[in-house]
């Protein structure tokens, strides 16, 4: 029996369907990320679980109990808001104590648990400061401490890292993940950042236009996207338009015959492969009939630090993207703009999509 269950949840605003037919279960201790572009319904879903948005249809259960009609303040759910929503007129300690006071704990216990929560996020020294006297990262940790101090049944994170700069984001990401594991907190996180979702979540839910596109582990979603939307949303990818011509054969609209793993729908209209799975070899390299090969010309070479990225155009006019680890040979590999190469990748890395 799963811990949280969304039974075909629905949210309508007039004739607009913000969320439709949303069914998902979470196990205890699991960290699940809702991922999708803005307006896809992920935040609405989170807010329905928190109790801020009434559902239009379906039920939500938590630990076997139906909480669909329970008002927000009676659900034991901790939430970290986008922008943190700290109480500006209360000190850090008071912010963290708020939920405990609402639970009418005695003063010694509150003091103890506030201390514990603040030490967990390494902010004991800041207990008497006001939120506005803290940096963004510190405020974020106060919000986290405040949400966790109440020993919530579920932790909700709404775009928790969006206000932090890139370096801090990596740090806090790891920190949240570690705390969540330590405490075994069932966690639902909403994000539009696929890196964030991939690196933190046990499972991902990709949403689009109010519906679930695919649910799976980070690797599943990246390696085996079930449709173009997921493939495109989960990082860069190449799409070659065309049609299926046999179990594994695929003919592109540009006329090239390619091989795929053979999975995918019969009516597949495109073959996709990830840019880091392809290799660029000299144009006079010997043929390898087991691999897919397209001749191409380098159009743009972009240096990205740990990887280099090549935009190419095949001899048939197909745009391609290939990345390579920035190893010591790369600089001398002759990948200058205008160079002619062969782009080569394995049929196993080719996925047919509708």
């Amino acid at each position: 029996m799963s811990y949280i269950e969304f039974h075909r949840i629905e949210k309508r605003y007039g004739s607009f369907h913000a969320v439709s037919d949303f069914a998902l279960s979470l196990d205890k201790g699991e960290l699940v990320a809702l991922l999708g572009p803005s307006g896809c319904g992920k935040t609405t879903t989170l807010r329905m679980l928190a109790g801020f948005v009434p559902v239009s249809g379906g039920r939500i259960t938590l630990g076997g109990k139906d909480i669909t009609e329970l008002p927000a303040h009676r659900r034991n759910i901790g939430m970290v808001f986008q922008g943190y929503a700290l109480f500006p007129h209360m000190t850090v300690a008071k912010n963290v104590a708020f939920g405990l006071e609402m639970r009418r704990l005695n003063r010694e216990e509150i003091e103890l648990r506030v201390k514990e929560a603040l030490s967990r996020v390494r902010l004991e020294a800041f207990a008497d400061r006001l939120p506005k006297q803290l940096s963004g990262g510190q405020q974020q940790r106060v919000a986290l401490a405040r949400a966790m101090a109440i020993n919530p049944d579920v932790l909700l994170l709404d775009e928790p890292l969006s206000a932090l700069d890139a370096r801090l984001r990596h740090e806090v990401r790891a920190e949240i993940r570690q705390l969540q594991r330590e405490l075994g907190l069932t966690t639902l996180i909403v994000t539009h950042d696929q890196d964030e979702a991939l690196s933190m979540a046990d499972r991902l839910v990709v949403m689009n236009k109010g519906r679930i596109e695919q649910v799976g582990s980070p690797a599943q979603l990246y390696e085996e996207p079930s449709n173009r939307f997921v493939a495109e949303f989960m990082g860069k990818t190449n799409f070659l338009e065309g049609r299926r011509e046999g179990p594994a054969d695929f003919r592109t609209t540009h006329g090239s015959l390619l091989k795929s793993s053979g999975d995918g729908p019969a009516a597949a209209s495109c073959l996709s492969f990830r840019p880091e799975r392809a290799r660029m070899v000299p144009v006079d390299a010997s043929d390898e009939p087991n691999l897919n090969t397209l001749e191409a010309r380098v159009q743009l070479f972009t240096y990205l630090g740990s990887v280099v990225e090549c935009r190419l155009e095949s001899s048939t006019g197909q745009p391609l993207l290939v990345t390579r680890a920035n190893t010591s040979g790369v600089q001398r590999a002759g990948l200058t703009e205008g160079a002619r190469v062969k782009v080569r990748w394995s049929p196993e890395d080719s996925r047919l999509l509708a």
């Binding site: 928190a50 008002p71 927000a72 303040h73 759910i77 929503a85 109480f87 007129h89 708020f98 609402m102």
Partner: protein
Amino acid sequence: MKLPRLGTWAYYGIVGATLAFVVAPLLAVIWVSVFVNKIIGFPPTGYTLKWYANAWALVDFREGFLLSLQLALLATAIGLAIGVPAALALARARFRGKAFISTLLLSPMMVPGVVAGSGVYLYFIQIELLSGVQLAATLPGLIAAHVVIVIPWVVRLVTTALLSVSENVEEAAQNLGATPLQTFWRVTLPIARPGLVAGALFSFIVSFTDLEKSLFLVGPGRTTLPIAIINYLEWNLDPTIAAVATVQIFIIGLALVISDRYVKLSRAF
């Protein structure tokens, strides 16, 4: 280097002139209030505090002062009790006719006091003719009229303050287990406090100094301070008036200083 310096001097000059323009009349009133001469003339032949004693000795001033004080406090209290819930609805709820209600609540500010005063007077007379209940020239009637003067200030300032409280913060409180009522008392109200204090303060001041609207509604033996001043001025011109005005200035100044100690009023606007 020369031009910016000239600019700086011009800047200070204009600021100083503006300040002087605002403050000079107040200082003049305070100065005149201690002249010894009954006929006001410059320079005075000496200084005295007897006009303050004289003002207090005059029953119209003493009772006018007490009535105005009482009126301002009651009107402010009632204005808050009505205006804060109204502001809450305007800031938070969505309903039809919201813009209309908002304008309606602010309209007493836009109607000239004399017009509104005569309107209220006629309205009171109508009520009296229909029901036999006298409102004009009574304390309840005066309070009702002052509540109307006060409400736009409360609604305006409190609505602005409430709009500055992010709904996320209120949701955070509920998420942590606070009922909607606890959320209001522990989170919304404290954050909106500067606006609340400013609303109360301005209510007190506009009620305490109101002349036009009260003119129609006061009765024999029930005169507010501004009206007592006008009445006195009709037959007398001696420093007693200046003494009364000085007391009024100090009361308002004190209210400003005290509230500024508790909340930074600049945050309310």
